[in-house]
Amino acid sequence: MSGEALVFWIFAGLTLGSAFVVVLSRTLIYSAFALLVTFFGVAGLYVLLGADFLAATQILVYVGGILVLLLFGVMLTHRIYDLDLRSETTQLGSGLIVAAGLFVVLSAVALKTEWPNLARLPAPTTAPIGRLFLREYLLPFEAASVLLLVALMGAAMIVRRRRTA
């Protein structure tokens, strides 16, 4: 097996395996840490696909930001003394059927379709992406700042303890 294949299978295994834990684990904190592994796995796959900027962003934002936030969420919504970190799962059977069905359908789409073939050989992406942000994708780049303002303000508004009116 080539080096590339080996690395792929390792990261793929990490990603999917930890995703299983995220979805099926009965302990919330295990799910959270499994999600950490999933994010790292995905970052590894990005590197393999030549997306260096994206891999770094994934780690910085997903692991360093979103996951930390989720961990806060986990810890703040459980009583500390009575460490009740269980998380329940309902209707596993029917859920599994739907999920399996989806997997089959989407894999069929993936395998049956004749995808175009324009490969892009791995090359540093940071500069080209930067250029794209300031040229073709300028508007979404700027509009995203409004999104972040709203999210920032909104999250703070919702969580802040209300001053008695």
Partner: protein, 497 residues
């Protein structure tokens, strides 16, 4: 550089809103005691400016891509933007912290910022012509809505509704994203124009399956925004849990923007309007699927509304049903369908906001949203009841109200395309809807009860608001020609360079 300047020139409505947004944030921070007045004033001014620019844009009739193909400007888009800005403006003018009990004690600056951000995002969504812009704008509309709904944070009902809204929404848009990623893979580009070229060029049979999958996944995202079946589950809870002015806003803005982008996506990418009447050659027949969704939506909405006693929930289901009617404009694969959609949206704006205003005012004075507390309103608040009669009759679709005009347009568009069965089902639905709208009227006017309660003293400004909205529902009587002309002029959908 010149493309950027040209784009910015056509971007004036949005820029007005952005400037307003920033000024509101500043005013909220620095204005001290004049804060409430300042934020409201700035919001109204910026929405009015945006409205003016939007009118200018429609008059100019340009058709061009903007910002390197991220957005598109065309007469249809300009008409939709007009409706979106009008919705924001009318809502801000009709509702205030004085006439809505539910808004008491909340931050002026924050709410107004959110309103401006919502309208801005909706404008972006309605004009998006690139998949990246589409996704970003859709999520901007969604996230702003999530925040607005979660606003009344001390209220458990509101919070739970908010949670369901965000989780359901994130799941739907996540699925849509997966579909968009597949579309990118197939077409090799994020631009809708490029995707249209790809689909028009003929898809190999092996890829048809993928395109079907994409259509279904993308419909998940659009369906959620429009509250179409089966993505409507969040709607009644959210409409009930949110403060009524927010509900009023959400019943029009995201729906209109969602329909606008659905129109642009399906018409602009999945069919070829330039090749004669909405040519689907090379693409797949998605209209049958949308028809199914439309029928399910209007039926479920109407049937569920029949048994509701909470006015907000009833109006929520009524909104769901109207989404079904609005979809008729999209199913009728034609220019008349697009025209029907715009007229229906404009009508829907004044009918729905009016109804929500009445509900808010009753709650302000009586403290109830329950229909069972509505008897006797005819005696206690004749102006209010008269206005409500206008709104309800318009919602039913009776002439001479604007709701009738709207239904006329969409029905004729559908019939013209030979979809008789569909039109019949829709007509039956309209009749069913009439039942509960008339029921409300009957309760208000004829039913006995509440004799002991004093008359509802409406403030002058509220009376004016009711009168203005009620008259707006009679627009066809006065402005028939103008409406015709406006709708006709808005028909051009820009689908390429």
């Amino acid at each position: 550089m010149s493309e950027l300047t040209r784009s910015l020139n056509a971007f004036r409505p949005e820029l007005a809103l952005l400037v307003g947004l920033l000024l509101v944030v500043l005013a909220d921070t620095f204005a001290g005691r004049g804060r409430q007045l300042a934020t409201r004033l700035i919001t109204v001014l910026s929405l009015t400016a945006a409205f003016g620019f939007a009118i200018e844009l429609q008059a100019a009739g340009t058709r061009a891509p903007l910002f390197s193909g991220m957005l598109v400007i065309d007469p249809l888009g300009a008409a939709l933007k007009l409706i979106l800005v009008a919705a924001g403006l009318v809502t801000v003018l009709a509702f205030s912290f004085r006439n809505s009990r539910e808004l008491a004690g909340l931050g002026h600056g924050e709410l107004h910022t959110l309103v401006l951000a919502l309208v801005f995002s909706c404008l972006l969504l309605a004009a998006a012509s690139d998949v990246v812009m589409l996704y970003l704008a859709l999520e901007m509309v969604s996230i702003t809505s999530y925040v607005m709904v979660g606003y009344l944070k001390g209220d458990r009902l509101s919070n739970e509704a908010s949670l369901k809204y965000i989780l359901f929404g994130a799941a739907s848009t996540g699925s849509m994203l997966y579909g968009l990623s597949l579309l990118y893979g197939l077409a090799g580009t994020t631009s809708l124009r490029g995707i249209q070229e790809y689909l028009a060029g003929g898809i190999p049979d092996a890829n048809r399956f993928a395109v079907y999958a994409v259509t279904l996944l993308v419909l998940a995202g659009f369906g959620f925004k429009i509250a179409a079946v089966p993505f409507h589950f969040w709607c009644p809870d959210v409409y009930q849990g949110a403060p009524t002015p927010v509900t009023a806003l959400l019943s029009v803005l995201p729906k209109a923007a969602g329909l606008a982008i659905a129109l642009r996506f399906f018409y602009g990418a999945f069919s070829i309007p330039e090749r004669g009447p909405w040519d689907l050659v090379g693409s797949i027949d998605w209209s049958a699927l949308v028809m199914l969704v439309s029928v399910l939506t209007m039926t479920l909405g109407n049937v569920a509304a029949l048994t509701q006693t909470n006015m907000k929930r009833l109006l929520a289901y009524s909104s769901i049903a109207h989404a079904g009617f609005l979809l008729m404009g999209i199913v009728a694969l034609s220019e008349n369908g697009a025209r029907g959609l715009i007229v229906y949206l404009a009508a829907y704006l004044v009918m729905n906001l009016g109804a929500f205003l009445v509900v808010t005012l009753v709650h302000l004075h009586d403290g109830s949203f329950d229909l069972r507390d509505y008897p006797g309103l005819y005696r206690r608040a004749p102006l209010l009841t008269l206005a409500m009669a206008f709104f309800l009759l318009s919602l039913v679709g009776i002439p001479p109200f604007v709701g009738f005009l709207a239904k006329l347009y969409v029905f004729s568009a559908v019939i013209e395309q030979g979809q008789g069965v569909y039109a019949t089902i829709a007509a039956v639905n309209a009749a069913v809807a009439a039942y509960y709208y008339f029921k409300i009227l009957r309760v208000m006017i004829i039913d006995p009860g509440n004799e002991a309660k004093p008359a509802l003293e409406l403030e002058l400004v509220d009376q004016l608001r009711l009168a203005a909205l009620a008259l707006a529902n009679l627009a066809p009587l006065f402005f028939w020609d103008w409406i015709e002309g406006w709708a006709r002029g808005a028909l051009v959908l820009y689908a390429g360079r």
